[in-house]
Symmetry: C2
Subunit: 248 residues, 2 copies
Amino acid sequence: MSDSNRLITNKTNGFLGIHSPIENSILQMLSVDVQQRILPYLELVDMPLGKVLYESGELLRHVYFPTNCIVSLLYVLEDGASAEISVVGHDGLVGVSLFMGGGSTTSRAVVQSSGFAYRLPRLRIKDEFNRHGELMLLVLRYIQSLLTQMAQTAVCNRHHNIEQQLCRWLLLSLDLLKDNHLVMTQELIANMLGVRREGVTEAAGCLHKQGVIDYSRGHIMVTDRPKLERLCCECYAVVRAETARLMS
Amino acid sequence: MSDSNRLITNKTNGFLGIHSPIENSILQMLSVDVQQRILPYLELVDMPLGKVLYESGELLRHVYFPTNCIVSLLYVLEDGASAEISVVGHDGLVGVSLFMGGGSTTSRAVVQSSGFAYRLPRLRIKDEFNRHGELMLLVLRYIQSLLTQMAQTAVCNRHHNIEQQLCRWLLLSLDLLKDNHLVMTQELIANMLGVRREGVTEAAGCLHKQGVIDYSRGHIMVTDRPKLERLCCECYAVVRAETARLMS
DNA sequence: CAGGAACTGTGCGTTAACGCACACAGATTC
DNA sequence: GAATCTGTGTGCGTTAACGCACAGTTCCTG
């Protein structure tokens, strides 16, 4: 893991120059006023694959605004079984429980796709939230979209098969990336979906046969997105529409 | 349904006298100041079994503070399949999306156990929320406990069997009632859990054989709660602990 | 009190996902 | 280029839940 981290850092350092906080939708939607208040405290951080932003029950120290990375919120059971309940990218932020008074959650936040994020110390973001201005309104709306995503995931877990869920997962991830290329093993996807690795292999095989995706050894390319959407259950469209309504 | 509604109303009218807003934890936790502001607009409403407070996508007109009733938040799929993602009683409120700016959610709220609730018109509660005082802080903490409950439900759906989930459901419902008696058919429980009615029948039969519950025709009595907790998956305890931490 | 509705019990065959074991192939290391 | 590691493919038997059909039982209603 440490080797791949170093690799990612080296490879991506070159992009530091083009990075800007406005690559995150929430930061971008703030007025110049607010931006000027928080910009001095924003810190650009590397988000290598597998990095854990916080563990269940742990006090949150920062709120993260992803730019080109993806973060998964995972619930892990005592026996190690897990399930992803939400996925956050440039359209959101990680650490909502800071705003709600809990200071911690029962979930774990893990980087699912490497990249960068801006982060702000706990106290700074709380100060801004406590002005009860734009940031608060935005965050509240974002929390509602989070609720929607979690609820839809719960129903999807219950009623839809692995292939449908894989489609949903691919589409949600794809929306957070610039291209149609995912760096992700089937093993990790299985952890996210809370199913067996073999189940993902089979589902991915089906999608490949139908000409929807290509993949090999930790790389997935979506080659026919429209078809992917047709094969998917309704859950993706519901989440997408509600998120658009709330965050537009 | 209309007949049973009338019956419930008649039976419970006698209790109207002892009803008070402070039977709802959130209303009770508010200072006299806030209470005095909102009390004039609080309306005691009958909550008969099956009453729908709002449908998916519908604009919310009131926020409800249950006293002795239980409300389920259900997600319903296009094909009619459903799953309960949260259950609300005297410890919470129904209609959080009013506070978050959405005005509606993709879920449906249904009375799962008849009783009463106090409700407040949309604009009144928004006014109070916008003072950014106690009510806001309480609501935010409540929203976080809701997030926890939803997430745990999602994981439980994925990894635990029907019997364990039934135990969780029974315990969560029991905590919201004064006694150990539930008025609920296996058919309805199946809808909540998103499983077959026969599956619930089988699980309930197992619990009965083990001396944990008695039931017949829409009535369930929990006779050995400690044992019920032992048979349950961890999900109940996690939710309960986190709710206690947040709302104490 | 007869008829019907609502609720629960039971017994199939079917299916999706599981757990496990192992084979195979691309990538990395020495 | 041999050894090794990581990621993927595959083939079992097993299991939990499903879908369906129907029987039995209690309760309500006319």
